[in-house]
Assembly symmetry: C2
Homo-oligomer: 492 residues x 2
């Protein structure tokens, strides 16, 4: 494993790409735009899944599974949704291959096995799910339906980047059905809050909650709630979205129910999702020029123990201490690895775990044995200390909590320092160019204004943060009365 990572200052984008590959998280595959998530990267995703799944179930949701394919006629039923995704759809048109008569040993699509109706590989599942819910819902007694699905989805992308933008990605998508607008809105907001809680407490990434402007809304949604994070290069990243779908899908699929008053009404809907994209956010928020930095709550290996020895006898003595430490830490539910490989030298192991972001490294050498100590190294601060073996098991849980909190605080300080209020478009452009980050500015609420700003600066409205106060001011671009104070940024 090579240590030579391009620095962030040199080329942030290159740094990211190299880091993902060298830290063994993921790599590009033989399929254009699709990635292979390697075991170390997948272990992070599994930790994320476990926690999110727990949170979903604690709020009354159940998992289910709906088909990968969406018949074209269902896909196009909700017009805005269809329009929004049509350009990114992988389409199955045939169901058989046959021997290619012109190329012995090769296969070709069997022209006789053409589907009567094309199947879209799901870019999102509202259509297939609401065509199913139609049969499940007759009365208010059948509501609410609170279902989540863990699945792969495909959105054909021309320019892809590992985790951040891939043709296929993994995600969860919640799809709920409600008897009232209020209940559906409550659900939408609840799930956005759960995402915020997860991303802040587990991923140690501070987020801003808000709603999207109309043009950034999910195709088919009435309102899109979101959480927005800020990366180290000053670009924003949408970390999760929760959509209030109104009655749009119920109308498209004719899903009515008899309410308590005995009247027919269309069902209210929400959908919400986070994806493997979050791993990209994780990397870009905390990592440094030496490699990945993982918050302990999501690290597949929280503590690694590296023996420093000459000869078998020394290794045996160190192993005795190390194995006891492993057992003690495992009792505390700490994920710990004792790396006693004799094929790699300590220096190479140090470099590997640094690159892979293991939060705490313990080194034990002959001097430590003599002194009853270990050397402790924190990945976040790169600081080292010598600790008594007798205290170490007690110390470690606290240090892990401290690392988790420090990472969040560091990211929050950076984020807060990169929210700049501006009052005019000249400052807007200059801040965007020279400082980056979120720009808080008055906006007239007009789609054209938003569009013009985007064309001129590449900045988009990341969100309209939850705000209580009445807005008084003028739009930085049009000079018309402002409707909102919003956050602009260049974004991933």
């Amino acid at each position: 494993m090579s240590k030579n990572l391009t620095s962030r200052a040199e080329d942030y984008s290159k740094w990211y790409n190299e880091l993902v590959v060298k830290a063994d998280l993921a790599e590009n595959s033989a399929v254009r735009g699709c990635m292979v998530i390697k075991p170390y990267g997948f272990a992070i995703w599994e930790k994320m899944q476990a926690e999110l799944d727990r949170m979903f179930k604690a709020t009354g949701h159940q998992n289910a599974y709906f088909p990968l394919f969406v018949p074209k006629s269902l896909f196009e039923a909700e017009e805005k949704n269809a329009e929004g995704f049509a350009k990114e759809c992988a389409v199955v048109t045939h169901y058989r291959l046959q021997n290619d008569p012109d190329n012995p040993g090769k296969l070709r699509v069997d022209p006789e096995a053409k589907l009567e109706e094309e199947l879209v590989v799901r870019p999102t599942s509202e259509a297939i799910i609401w065509s199913t819910y139609k049969n499940w819902i007759q009365s208010y007694r059948d509501l609410p339906i609170l279902i989540n699905q863990w699945a792969n989805v495909v959105r054909w992308e021309m320019r892809t980047r590992l985790f951040l933008r891939t043709a296929e990605f993994l995600w969860q998508e919640g799809h709920t059905a409600h008897a009232t607008k209020e209940e559906a809105l409550d659900e939408t907001i609840q799930m956005n809050n759960i995402y915020a809680e997860f991303v802040e407490n587990f991923m140690a990434i501070p987020v801003i909650k808000g709603v999207k402007s109309e043009s950034e809304r999910f195709a088919g949604a009435v309102e899109t709630y979101c959480i927005e994070a800020l990366m180290q290069d000053g670009k924003a990243l949408q970390a999760g979205t929760s959509h209030f779908l109104g009655q749009n899908f119920a109308k498209a699929f004719d899903v009515k129910f008899t309410n308590k008053e005995g009247k027919q009404d269309f069902v209210w809907a929400t959908s919400w999702g986070v994806s493997t994209r979050l791993i990209g956010a994780l990397i870009m928020t905390h990592s440094d020029d030496k490699g990945l930095v993982l918050p302990p709550n999501l690290a597949p290996i929280q503590v690694v123990i590296v023996p420093i020895y000459k000869g078998e006898e020394e290794l045996n003595q160190i192993s005795e201490v190390a194995n006891k430490l492993v057992a003690d830490l495992q009792k505390l539910n700490i994920s710990v690895k004792f790396d006693n490989r004799d094929t790699h030298r300590p220096g190479a192991k140090f470099a590997q775990y640094e690159l892979q972001g293991v939060p705490l490294r313990i080194a034990i050498g002959p001097k430590d044995l003599a002194n009853n100590t270990v050397e402790l190294a924190r990945r976040d601060t790169l600081s080292k200390s010598v600790e008594s073996i007798d205290n170490i098991t007690q110390l470690i849980p606290d240090i892990l909590v401290d690392i988790q909190n420090s990472l969040f605080n560091r990211a929050e300080t950076f984020r807060d320092q990169h929210i700049t209020e501006v009052e005019n478009f000249e400052t807007f452009k200059s801040v965007l160019e020279n400082k980056g980050g979120f720009i808080s500015a008055f906006w007239d609420g007009n789609v054209d204004t938003e569009q013009r700003i985007k064309e001129l600066t590449k900045a988009t409205i990341r969100c309209i943060p939850n705000q209580e106060e009445v807005v008084t001011g003028v739009c930085i671009f049009s000079g018309k009365p402002a409707k909102y104070r919003v956050l602009f940024a260049k974004a991933y």
Copy 2:
């Protein structure tokens, strides 16, 4: 929820289809051959996944994720594998939809967005994974690779049945790479044993271990190990397979490594999988004319408590007892539900949980309150008893273990009674017709013999069981010297 389930004697196949739908496990979707796995069915799958995943990790495997799509040129590289699956492949040929000029509001495939190379939706992932492993393996130090993936796969089927045979299904597929033939063979057998352990101890389904005959082998495998189960209608069901792939995929994708002696050699491979098909086996092994019967180790709800009351005051009194019981059972890690819905009567609840196979039902009524008792009903035996509330928390864990064991023993007795040794083809046909089950018979090892028997009787060789003794006898069909004693059966 209707209680009117077709009986098994009346129409076994109809009974199965009705049961799957009425017990809320799964249903057919708008996509031909694809199913919707409903929350209750999916909860069973989640329990299966959790246990299998634990077993895989305990034996050193890690999870990862590989692309859904396989470029045609990679798919066809291992010829036998490609040939075996070519007829069942869903193929993506386009990556975009556009507005249909002839049908306003409708979409059509954009003819300009045709892929240069078609993408096969994975029917299995050997091809995409071995084209990836090629880059991961240089030396024996890179081996073994022990990876598993949880994924959806698509095999286009003309005649589908919920869980048993669907165009899309969920599964896990292990794909390992080894430096030696022996190590790969050990892995293959180990994973077949893990499947047997899981299916017997968790699903309470007895299995026979063995290998497949050449014609029943996985396309591209050198040897397919399998576990075979017997359903109540006397038909066999392949519950899991573990393939020794030899160097076939390494040769197809040119995956070589430098061994310890410094020489180049092709890598040895295994793959192994179980799928949502197992849920079909679970249903058909244990269930009865009243509905599903679930082994406690896989039941999403192990114990349900139903209050029998008139008026709110009675319900409150019962709830007090029930809530304490819920808390006590949860402390023992027992999954328990207190169904206090006031929209359904006790009789309807009883019917629902019977249909859904909840292992233990507790009813509490006013008489019970007076006597300090509850009524306990076992789903497996349909027997009831009145128990003192003071003993109940202590009793239940033992009863759940007893249900788990009883289900296995009942299925094993049935299976053992349905293995018939026959010495000639007349008896073979008569047993197959009148009794069903496995038929143990001598076979000459010839593919043509196997084929003729299949044509005449629809019975196939389910497996060549692990056998130590030397076979002496003649083939029941050809009269030639027998090579093996094998198990024939009609199969799902």
